[in-house]
């Protein structure tokens, strides 16, 4: 949507703005996490928020991921709407019982009388030279657990609108922010007001008749660059960002594949058992399969822990060049 103010925010600013709006709107919203107060969060996302809302609503915690998430689950059951920041998504492993066995299952398993309105925000992704325990993309883990909603915003405007919806949602939402996007402005202006983007609606970023690309997180941005470049060569690409990978909105994907007949899926996380395989499976078992004129192509992280050295780290996940080569090959080789 066009925005008169034309504000170009970073992901960190957009997330902060959404949290600020939500906390102004409702008293039951609070943020809790390691170093989210004076420090402003490891990536500065909650910078200055403690000054505004006080230490009772921007709560600094000890280094205690299991305790923090568990306390958030309990607070959510008792009528609050906690937002938890886990400093790196890798550390959610410390809290997995509370995420996977408690938050995700309580509503269903306990008969529906209780629910867990909890947002767990956490940065993910490689590219910072932080090596294997600070660089994973874990969206697939969470998407494989019924009861969690999983949001992977690729740009500041979506991050703001989706986070507002996530905070409103009566269910646990895992909100995965790519750390390389925190400090760069998005392509689109971020609306100033309160514009919620519903969870479970895929976004079509551009339309083209030759190839459908479905990408998540930062791979959306990389794919966008490729699509722009290849359009000069006469290769027209439809780019779809599911935005929420659980629940997953397949409609625009089917629609596009039926037009282009070619599908490239891209994710940063490792290919084995990865989320994008779900997209491929759903296309393969649907009528869209009959429209395909090329084998489906998949680009994903290598099935290795993320290595440290920059040249090794780059090699571990799809880069713009890889997407460009794959896109061009599918279109050129399958006519």
């Amino acid at each position: 949507m066009a925005d008169t103010t034309n504000r170009m925010l970073t992901m960190a600013e957009a997330v902060r703005e959404a949290m600020t709006i939500a906390m102004n709107e409702r008293e039951d919203v609070f943020l809790m996490g390691e170093d989210v107060g004076i420090y402003g969060g490891a990536f500065g996302v909650s910078s200055e928020m403690q000054n505004k809302f006080g230490a009772d609503r921007i709560i600094d915690t000890p280094i205690s991921e299991l305790g923090i998430v568990g306390a958030a689950v309990g607070a959510a059951l008792a009528g609050m709407r906690p937002i938890v920041e886990i400093q790196f998504s890798d550390f959610t492993a410390q809290a997995m019982d509370q995420i996977a066995n408690q938050a995700a299952k309580i509503h269903f398993m306990l008969g529906g009388a209780l629910h867990v309105p909890l947002v767990l925000r956490t940065p993910q992704g490689s590219g910072t030279g932080a090596a294997a325990q600070h660089s994973q993309v874990l969206e697939t883990w969470f998407a494989n657990i019924p009861g969690l909603k999983v949001v992977v915003p690729s740009n500041p405007a979506d991050a703001k609108g989706l986070l507002l919806s996530a905070i409103d949602d009566p269910n646990p939402v895992i909100f995965l922010e790519h750390k390389l996007l925190y400090k760069i402005p998005g392509r689109d202006a971020v609306p100033e007001g309160v514009e919620r983007i519903p969870l479970g609606v895929s976004k079509v970023l551009r339309h083209g008749s030759d190839l459908t690309i479905v990408a998540t997180g930062i791979m959306v941005n990389k794919s966008y660059e490729v699509a722009e470049k290849l359009s000069a060569e006469g290769i027209n690409i439809t780019l779809i960002d599911p935005r929420t990978i659980s629940p997953l909105d397949m409609d625009p994907i089917h629609e596009s594949v039926q037009q282009t007949g070619r599908l490239l899926v891209v994710q940063e996380g490792p290919s084995h058992g990865g989320f994008i395989n779900e997209v491929i499976a759903r296309v393969s078992e649907s009528a869209s399969f009959g429209s395909l004129i090329a084998p489906i192509k998949r680009l994903a992280g290598m099935n290795i822990p993320i290595p440290y050295a920059p040249q090794l780290e780059r090699a571990a996940v799809p880069q713009i060049e890889d997407i460009e080569v794959a896109a061009r090959e599918i279109v050129k080789n399958w006519r």
């Binding site: 568990g70 509370q98 008969g111």
Partner: protein, 333 residues
């Protein structure tokens, strides 16, 4: 619907209180016996974790709580649920996979929750409910509700990271939380002697700045008195307390238990410390209830369980239709 008829207060403070405490202990005992019977007759599937022998602990703790106070419970949670005031029919119905069961057949024995009585849920993961109770305590403090959150857990849970992280958060934030450890001497087959290098598990509080008290968990009076003090501390903003209640489970850990890790003599010895006759002898001695009145309370508990089983057996089975729609709460609902 739930019939909530809790009577708060010291079990020896009046005739009503004594008979109330006795009724709840009998209800728990007879509920567990009924579950064992249903299981033995092949009417219940899955597994069961019985708390026979431990009835004084949940009863004594919950006598110190208001309806609005909250609890989290464990895989061995029937007693906590009953002591907090849950509806027996809906409990049995859940075990039998019926539609009117607390979880509509989706949770079973280990996952009963009851919003009306402040029961935030039993838990199939050892230690899983402890941080959740701390969160309920945090919410109480942030919302200035004045409620207390109690986490029931066993000795085994004290070695889980969840206990340690939760205890620390409750301590540093001075939350209105009670960590209620039912030390029944065994985490499945692991004795506390093997699993701990300390004598009193309540001493675990020392490392967190949390006072800990160890009580005879088979004496409902002693449990109540510790509970009342801990509740007062919590409501006064003085922070959490650990209560370690020493007790014993007569039955195996679950249906698969062959009791290979303990002796028959040990089990028999603990049967002599049965919390029910112990409380009965106290009330008789104090002249609070006559033998006839005690028998009437026992009969009342029996009748309630029989009624609950009959109603639950008659109830409609849970159906698989609608399961997909039950995963998430509807937005805006």
């Amino acid at each position: 619907m739930t019939t909530i008829q809790l009577l708060k207060g010291h079990p020896l403070s009046s005739k009503e209180h004594a008979s109330h405490a006795l009724l709840y202990m009998w209800k728990i005992r007879k509920f567990e016996e009924a579950v064992e019977d249903l299981f033995g007759r092949g009417m219940m599937h899955g597994t069961m974790h019985l708390s026979i022998g431990q009835e004084a602990s949940p009863t004594g703790m919950c006598l110190a709580l208001d309806l609005a106070d909250q609890i989290t419970s464990t895989h061995r949670g029937h007693g906590h649920c009953i002591a907090k005031g849950a509806d027996l029919t809906r409990m049995i119905a859940e075990l039998l996979g019926k539609k009117i069961g607390y979880c509509g057949g989706r949770g079973g024995s280990m996952h009963i929750a009851d919003v009306e009585t402040g029961n935030l849920g039993a838990n199939g993961v050892v230690g899983g409910g402890i941080p959740i109770a701390v969160g309920a305590g945090l919410a109480s403090k942030l919302q200035k509700k004045g409620t207390v959150a109690v986490s029931f857990f066993g000795d085994g849970a004290m070695n889980e990271g969840a206990f340690h992280e939760a205890a620390n958060l409750a301590a540093i934030w001075k939350l209105p939380v009670i960590f209620f450890c039912e030390n029944n001497h065994y985490g499945m087959s692991s004795s506390t002697e093997k699993a701990f290098a300390i004598e009193k598990l309540a001493d675990r509080g020392l490392g967190y700045g949390i006072p800990g008290v160890t009580v005879d968990g088979n004496n409902v009076v002693e449990v109540y008195e510790a509970a009342e003090a801990a509740v007062a501390r919590a409501r006064n903003g003085e922070g959490p307390t650990i209560i370690e209640a020493i007790t014993y489970r007569w039955k195996g850990h679950s249906r698969s238990d062959k009791n290979l890790y303990r002796t028959k003599e040990e089990i028999e010895e603990w049967k002599h410390k049965d919390p029910l006759p112990r409380f009965i002898s106290i009330v008789l001695e104090k002249g609070l209830l006559s033998q006839d009145e005690i028998d009437a309370v026992q009969q009342q508990a029996h009748d309630q369980i029989v009624h609950a089983v009959n109603e639950a057996v008659k109830a409609e089975s849970a159906e698989p239709s609608g399961l997909l729609d039950a995963v998430f709460k509807k937005v805006g609902a």
